[in-house]
């Protein structure tokens, strides 16, 4: 275990895998967070765009904010989605960047990758690609991305400095980082920070 981090990154990763494997297989199950179309509505996504997507493309969405709310993507941009899950934000990004753009979704869960690849094929989104990988080691070359998006994933990474350094590495100079994540307005006690169950639930 890295003694500088509040929890063991490997143990946390396994816990996150277990939790989100369930979201992939059982999206309408009893989770501690909202999922799918009700969540997209709550976070202000374009209802017409969400309605146009098949259920499989939306149902495992488990973001915490809307990465497109402060800046819409521009046609032709190259985008990395760090922690793409079921692919929902990649499909929104694909709509915004258009067929001349490119969207690479990165996720560590084979169940989510299979689901997102199937949905992309179903929707005919040839500008979207999904790769298996970790946020701490993103499988994208240096400076490739015009934009990095992410939604509700960085808070699940134990080593945030390494994670943000990777997001920085894949961005080109002048590139944009636009992401959704949670923040607490009241301090979390030190013993709670060391409780992996609280990180994921």
């Amino acid at each position: 275990m890295n003694t500088e981090l509040p929890v063991d990154p490997v143990a946390l990763r396994e816990e996150v895998k277990s939790k989100y494997r369930d979201v992939a297989r059982n999206p309408n199950g009893e989770h501690h967070f909202h999922t799918g179309r009700p969540l997209a509505r709550r976070l202000g996504y374009d209802p017409a765009l969400v309605d146009s997507m098949p259920d499989a493309a939306v149902e495992s969405f488990a973001g915490v904010a809307n990465p497109f709310s402060l800046r819409a993507l521009e046609p032709g941009e190259k985008v990395v989605d760090a922690g793409s899950g079921g692919g929902f934000d990649c499909f929104v990004a694909a709509h915004q960047v258009g067929p001349q753009g490119k969207v690479v979704g990165v996720d560590m869960l084979p169940e989510m990758l299979e689901k997102s690849r199937t949905s992309a094929k179903l929707m005919g989104l040839k500008q979207v690609e999904f790769r298996e990988g970790l946020l701490e080691q993103i499988p994208v070359q240096d400076g490739w991305a015009d934009v990095v998006i992410s939604n509700g994933v960085i808070n699940l990474c134990a080593d945030k400095k390494q994670t943000f350094s990777e997001l920085w590495r894949v961005l080109r100079p002048g590139g944009k980082l636009q992401f959704g994540d949670i923040a607490n307005g009241k301090p979390v006690p030190a013993d709670a920070l060391r409780d992996i169950d609280l990180w994921t639930g």
Binding site: H31, L43, N66, G152, L171, F179, N184, G201
Partner: protein
């Protein structure tokens, strides 16, 4: 941490009541947890 890494022009959007009416609402309220959108730039240009 964004600024520490080197990002500039950092913006934070309005809070989302992400966990409202969800099973995790009680814990979220305990620590005032909300969802936020963040926007930042890597300095430089192509």
């Amino acid at each position: 941490m964004l600024a520490e890494i080197g990002f500039v022009d950092i913006q934070i959007g309005q809070p989302y009541d992400t966990f409202g009416e969800a099973r995790g609402e009680k814990m979220a309220r305990l620590f005032a947890v909300y969802g936020y959108t963040f926007l930042a730039s890597k300095p430089g240009s192509l």
